[in-house]
């Protein structure tokens, strides 16, 4: 597949939009898929009667009845049950309340879900979507704040999406539910208040394809790649750089597996300078991986060493001053950009 990146703001199908925040758009996306496909079912802890621990799934149980099912606090059973239902032709959406809890069901995700099709020589189709509240910055402490997407990066067989806007969460979650392969959807809980526009009525033109990056801001001088909360800090940094006469191009990959390398390579061919910003420790992550692959495969495109901006190699601290310092800030991105631009 040759992905064509979208350009934020250039995508405007004719439909009347309603404003929703990142929290509310989750129930809307699930409802739109449940309404159009009776095979879609939804299960998780407190997702039904309580409307979700983060109130992200309010109204679904009332509207769709037994297709929305509250489970025991039993993450292995949640994921395994979703897998078994998928084998029988359903399209389950499973919620893992905090992405950190993926540790509890890591085996089901890594050893069963990701490998089922392969292990059975293609007999199994496992269209399971797992949604998880992800990331730091909201004061939840070391076991409720981890950006967990990198844990799954080298497990072939699962797709990973990391939407950073309301529009992308709506479009990618719907695409994930429609996908015949397993998809992990990481919803950043520090973006819940972010606002955006989605169609007033279900509209397939607002699906966002998995594996296609978004050029969040075009520019010719330096490429900044970032996801979720870091996308927004990269955009802030780009605004500050514009004040100093530099045009930064901000790319949000939106999907980590499969990764849209081509959009980044095309940008790098134009800018010759690359910064990758990742929430989370530096090693074993998509950001270092992206830099490694581009240096190995596209060395001639660089006019300066690539910069890797990440969190510290520590657990996520609780106290605000420490947690704020743990997260890469806009000032770090601006400083690194200016260093590379002067290189």
């Amino acid at each position: 597949m040759t992905p064509t990146p979208t350009l934020s703001g250039s995508f405007a199908p004719a439909a009347s939009l309603v404003e929703l925040n990142y929290r509310k758009v989750i129930a809307r996306a699930i409802a739109d898929e449940m309404a159009t496909d009776p095979r879609v079912v939804f299960l998780g802890e407190d997702v039904g009667a309580a409307g979700g621990a983060f109130k992200t799934t309010e109204g679904l149980h009332e509207r769709f009845g037994e297709r929305v099912r509250d489970t025991p606090i039993a993450e292995q059973a949640i994921v395994g049950t979703a897998i078994g239902a998928a084998l029988m032709g359903l399209r389950p959406v499973a919620e893992i309340m905090f992405a950190d809890f993926a540790g509890v069901c890591f085996d089901q995700i890594v050893n069963t879900l990701a490998k089922y099709r392969y292990t059975t020589g293609g007999q199994a189709t496992v269209p399971v979507t797992i949604r998880m509240a992800n990331g730091a910055g909201a004061g939840f402490g070391p076991q409720h704040s981890q950006p967990a997407e990198n844990w799954f990066l080298n497990i072939p067989g699962i797709k990973i999406v990391v939407p950073g806007t309301v529009e992308d969460l709506y479009g990618l979650l719907r695409s994930a539910i429609r996908d015949d392969d397993p998809v992990l959807v990481f919803e950043h809980k520090n973006l819940f208040a972010l606002k955006g526009g989605v169609p007033a009525e279900p509209d397939d033109r607002y699906l966002v394809p998995i594996g296609v990056a978004d050029i969040a801001r075009p520019g010719n001088d330096i490429t900044i790649v970032a996801t979720q909360q870091m996308r927004h800090r990269a955009l802030q940094a780009a605004g500050q750089l514009a004040g100093q006469g530099y045009a930064a191009e901000v790319i949000d990959p939106r999907t980590l597996v499969p990764f849209d390398y081509q959009t980044v390579i095309t940008s790098l061919a134009k800018t010759s300078r690359l910064i990758v910003v990742q929430e989370g420790p530096p090693d074993g992550g998509w950001a270092a991986n992206l830099i490694g692959r581009l240096v190995a495969g596209n060395f001639e495109l660089f006019d300066a060493p690539p910069a890797l901006i990440t969190s510290d190699p520590t657990p996520v601290p609780y106290s605000s001053p420490m947690e704020d310092a743990w997260l890469p800030g806009t000032d770090r991105i601006v400083a690194e950009a200016l260093r590379l631009l002067a290189y």
Binding site: E66, G84, A85, L87, N111, T112, R117, T119, G121
Partner: protein, 334 residues
């Protein structure tokens, strides 16, 4: 550990006992599994196959008895000691051999191997190499049946060792709460890998656990295919009637070691011999004799099974290996 008590059927009698024809079909399937496993054991011992394998000799009556109570559309999951279960459900002998040999025409095209025999066409949703991982898969298949109103039942087979891993509790609690049409069959062969059950399990009467999940718990003689079939039929009926899951503890014995590399020297003297005396094939033949079968007829069933297994093995051995490029397929649907 002292030698175990002789297994006793505690399931009360009921329903119509299997006819001679049904019993003969079950005996034949048990022979096929036995000869299949003997062949696999021979291949591994002679290094014709790499890796490891986990054999089912001695436990045949459990899978054969339970799957005899199922109908098309019902599904099973089982463990890496699962050759017998997948064959009991009707997977072809040659393609099962082919998978263990890593052939392109194996059940899983050589991607899974001995621990992953799977045949969706007969409802065998898979053999799982992680202890206990398949229990929630069965819950999911049962949930789908409940939602779709198909009347299908899903059965999970697992060892006494798996009764001590977290998925057992998570899945049985969920299945009991949701009243899923599921059956959980413990193949209690008295050993979890190398360890006798009493050294790892506080209450070795595993059927007792059912009370915690508000489902019936039944302990049966797992070497008596008639007792197993009877218990399975009751559980299937209960599930189809919407009354929820059943836990069946089938008392049986693993006649071989845990895996290829285990000679099972930890077994107390005389234990194996005691269990060989109530080998499930012998027990089934005794049932058939009481129904009038002659030694000649019983020998013919055995010999036909052996001939079929041998022919299937020869076919599988003759099949080509997969193209190395095939390793790249089946990761994704497209």
């Amino acid at each position: 550990m002292t030698a175990p008590a002789q297994p006793q059927a505690t399931a009360s009698a009921g329903g119509s006992p299997p006819s001679a024809g049904e019993l003969t079909a079950m005996l034949r399937r048990m022979h096929e599994i036995r000869f299949f496993e003997n062949t696999v054991q021979d291949w591994f011992s002679r290094a014709i196959v790499r890796g490891s394998t986990h054999l089912y000799q001695g436990q045949e009556a459990v899978s054969v008895g339970v799957t005899a109570a199922l109908r098309p559309g019902d599904t099973t999951t089982c463990t890496y000691r699962g050759h017998g279960t997948v064959l009991a459900q009707g997977a072809p002998l040659d393609r099962a051999f082919g998978e263990i040999l890593g052939k392109a025409n194996g059940l899983c095209h050589g991607k899974g191997g001995s621990m992953h025999l799977t045949d969706f066409s007969v409802g065998a949703l898979g053999s799982f190499a992680i202890v206990g991982a398949h229990l929630p898969i069965t819950a999911g298949a049962a949930w789908a049946a409940q939602l779709q109103g198909t009347g299908a039942v899903s059965v999970s087979f697992f060892g006494d060792g798996a009764a001590n891993i977290g998925t057992f509790h998570e899945t049985l609690n969920l299945a009991g709460t949701w009243k899923l049409p599921a059956i959980f069959v413990i193949e209690n062969n008295l050993y979890g890998e190398y360890s006798p059950i009493a050294s790892t399990t506080a209450n070795t009467r595993l059927a007792d656990r059912a009370a915690s999940y508000a489902m019936p718990g039944v302990r049966v003689d797992g070497n008596d295919v008639v007792a197993v079939l009877d218990a399975a039929r009751r559980a299937v009926q209960r599930a189809r009637d919407g009354h929820g899951p059943t836990l069946i503890e089938a008392m049986t014995y693993r006649q071989s070691g845990h895996s290829r590399s285990d000679p099972a020297k930890y077994r107390p003297a005389g234990e194996l011999e005691q269990w060989l005396a109530c080998d499930p094939i012998i027990v089934t033949e005794q049932h058939l004799r009481r129904l009038g079968a002659s030694d000649t007829e019983l020998a013919a069933v055995r010999d036909q099974a052996r001939a079929d297994v041998d022919a299937a093995a020869q076919r599988a051995l003759s099949w080509p290996d997969p193209d190395p490029a095939d390793r790249l397929t089946d990761v994704w649907t497209s």
